[in-house]
């Protein structure tokens, strides 16, 4: 029988520890904001993790950043591949250290939002950009996109004033199979790229929750 629950009640490090100490051959599946991640255990070690689009340690570290989401542990499930060979306790220390560092720096808020956005299904890239189009916090460097985003927000702000509307909540542009979603937070811009197959109405509630801090 599978063990099911929510990470709010049972933290991921505890679940990992339990599976490793018990030397379970098992699969731990986590669902967060419509996106699925998995961690596989074998012989008391973490042997594989995946969390779209990452696999291995990167996926595991991103999963360790989740404090909410449904989980399921299934016993006697073999890993499809072995992508992790480090000792599980070292991995936990490294992952939790990364998470702490992320949340203690000056841009902790931006980093946390980006980290949460990257966990939403369909999100390919996300960044915080200044109104000058420079990256404030971004895991990638695409100045053309950032400056186009700043320019777009500037023009739409002018339209808001012109029509006597409140501040624009977000702008969505579909270009070349990508949906670019731009939103203003204070004086900065959140830049999010989705696979264009994901409909705006489906992703909007998740994005709004994260950006307003309700997630």
């Amino acid at each position: 029988m599978a063990l099911v629950g929510n990470l709010k009640d049972l933290k991921l490090p505890n679940l990992i520890q339990l599976n490793c100490m018990e030397k379970n051959e098992s699969k731990l599946t986590i669902e967060h904001s419509g996106k699925y991640g998995s961690i596989y255990f074998q012989n008391g070690q973490i042997v594989h993790a995946e969390f779209d689009p990452d696999i291995g340690k990167e996926a595991l570290f991103r999963l360790l950043g989740l404090d909410d989401g449904k989980f399921k542990v299934e016993i006697a499930v073999r890993p499809p591949i072995v992508s992790i060979t480090d000792n599980w306790s070292n991995l936990m220390l490294e992952g939790l250290h990364q998470f702490d560092t992320l949340h203690s720096s000056d841009t902790a808020k931006e980093k946390k939002i980006i980290s949460m956005l990257l966990n939403v299904k369909g999100v390919k890239r996300a960044a915080f950009v200044t109104m000058d189009g420079d990256p404030l916090y971004a895991a990638f460097d695409d100045r053309e996109s950032f400056r186009s985003a700043a320019f777009s927000i500037y023009e739409i702000d002018r339209i808001s004033r012109l029509l006597h509307l409140d501040e624009v909540k977000l702008i969505s542009l579909v270009i070349n199979k990508i949906r670019v979603v731009l939103s203003k937070i204070g004086q900065d811009i959140t830049y999010i790229e989705f696979d264009a197959r994901h409909q705006l109405d489906t992703i909007l509630p998740y994005v709004e929750r994260i950006l307003t801090g309700d997630a």
Partner: protein, 144 residues
């Protein structure tokens, strides 16, 4: 074209429909009488965004601008931009679908074909430096 735009306007919570050419000319408008005088400025700003992406990235196929109570839903191709102004309680999938069908029908219309022939050689630079303010020029210059 008139009938097609009128059909979109009959959808629940749609307050107006506008069709623009790639030159930024407003070809037709239904509803939105309260914004009549603001339309040229709105068109100019919107065309800048669309042109920017076309010039520096890829052509924009859809644009949606979401405010608290209002949303503009637009679909674009190489010739037209069809925009629906709606309240935020509208059925957005239905509006998007209707816009797509309407744009295809408008393009196939004989009158539109004649209009397209006339427009064929008209080129307008929506990002001409003389029309932009300092901030816009600064951002654009970084893209070159």
């Amino acid at each position: 074209m008139d009938d097609r735009l009128q059909n979109i306007l009959t959808l629940d919570s749609v307050e107006g429909v506008v069709i623009l050419s790639h030159t930024g000319e407003m070809l037709n408008r239904k509803g939105l009488d309260q914004y009549k005088s603001e339309m040229p400025e709105l068109t100019k700003r919107l065309m800048r965004v669309i042109t920017l992406y076309r010039n520096y990235k890829w052509p924009v196929k859809e644009i949606e601008i979401v405010w608290r109570d209002t949303r503009i839903i637009g679909i674009a191709d190489e010739i037209f931009i069809l925009l629906a102004f709606c309240r935020n309680n509208a059925s957005f999938p239905l509006i998007r679908m209707t816009l797509n069908v309407s744009l295809a029908a408008i393009k196939a219309d004989r009158k539109t074909q004649k209009m397209l022939k006339k427009m064929k050689n008209v080129k307008v630079n929506h990002l001409r430096t003389g029309d932009l303010d300092e901030w816009e020029i600064n951002l654009i210059s970084k893209l070159l």
